[in-house]
Amino acid sequence: MKENNAELVVKTLSKHFGALRAVDEVSFEVKRGELVGLIGPNGAGKTTLLNLITGFLSKTKGEVFFQERDITSTTPDRVAKIGIARTFQITKPLVGMTVEENVMAGALFGRAGRPRSIEEARKKARECLELTGMLDKKDLSVGQLTIPDMKRLELSRAMATDPHLLLLDEVMAGLRPTEIDEALSLIKKLNETMNITIIFIEHVMRAVMSISQRIIVLDHGKKIAEGSPEDIARNPLVIEAYLGKKYMERRKSNG
């Protein structure tokens, strides 16, 4: 099961909230260097899956391996230290600290933060802010940021932790089309030139289709499809999950 180049292996992972199976026996693998999209309708269990991988939620069942190492019951801070960074769908800025200080906190801890001095962390933070186009806002307090800028801050801060694997939860929500293009090319750049394996949850279908090498689809907690963007676009189960049964039936009778 654990192949050599598998960065992340998720095995029959489940999370039940009472009777609700938010994540239901989900298994998949992500190879080192891959750029994988994770999609599914609202409430499909995408964020919960991400919380399970990063140790923010306890697992009802299943296992998670990162770089062949069992991280099933690893705490979030340890997960970050071994090289998995994440963003939060509902952004969690460090209130009371400036934009730069937020990103510095990432640069001082995370995977490679330990040996960094405060000044080195500041330098690293500025590099990350430069990449996301936030450098000119470094001295603002986070309370002054717009929602899209909060998302950019989340991304900058996650990058500052020098991750091997980056998990992005709807970082493009609320961005304008041109801004989405910028975000897409940034994610591609992180993946290609910085060699970061990326799983990104996104609602903007155009975005997911355009840059994902592979797409995983969740619906009602279950993995219903997995494959290339072309396969996913044609997959009847996916179309049904997104557009509803009625649409499918109409299509069938018409076609």
Binding site: F56, D77, A80, A85, K92, A105, F109, G110, I118
Partner: protein, 323 residues
Amino acid sequence: MLRQLFENKKIRIIGISAIVLFLMGIPWLITGYWVRLLTSIFMYATLSKAIDLMIGYLGYVPFGNVVFFGLGAYTTGIAMSHGIPFPLAMVMGALISIMVCIFIGVPVLRLRGHYFAVATVGLNGAIMAIALNATALTGGAMGLTFPVLPAPPEIIYRYFYYMMFALMVAAIIVSIIIVKSRFGYAVRSIKANEEAARALGINTTVTKTAIWIISAIITSIAGAIYGFWMSYISTMDVFNIMIGVTCILMTLLGGAGTIIGPILGALIFQFLSEMVWSQFLEFHLGILGVITILVIFFIPGGLVASLKESFTRAKVQHKEAGS
């Protein structure tokens, strides 16, 4: 103008040196009463600094932090009555406080702030009860007497004045170092958002316990010095929860999470209580409460924050007027 003065490094160093020199020399020029009053101000300032490490920097309110004051005082007193010299006895008090922090902190600091606040009150009650009942060791309800220094009162007053002053300076320096360090970033990140802090790789339980230990060490040393200074302590006296509450009020008044806020708060409170409230003993607590409510309503960030704000405003107006 005033702000520029503060921001000029040279002027700041001269100003701070002047204050330090003044405070070093003053006990030779004033009466014992004033020396004692200043010593008690330093003590409250130190305790407030220690509590502000938790409130202002970490965002947790340790209502029962006075437990370390009592532990420091009692451990030192018991050790000294067995012939152990004061510095060593003081270190023993700090070590016991550290142990309590680790045993209690690791399980309790996993929890959110309000549980921790309540747990510290329970801890204080429990340790106070132990101190009260371990009569053979602590003297129980009779209290505990320290060996008295063989010197005339004025010398003794100055001795404790300098000790408390040194401890306060140490507490200030510690807080400055913490704010600028990696550890300080961890503490501030936890205050800002505990989940985000964990996602960045910060071990929140260890960090919270560590800052609590620093707070406890300072508090227990203050307790050790206090006990030796008073030469007699009782559980009602050094485990009095009101000491902690007063320090929390001082911190809020001066400004939580600022370098000099807790010092300023302690100074104002102690002067007021000495000058004004001692005339109306029965209303003491009532006045305290009223002042706190006024402070929370009208200067939510504390005095330091509102002073800073008015400086900035003055600066902006100055600029606007100039352009």
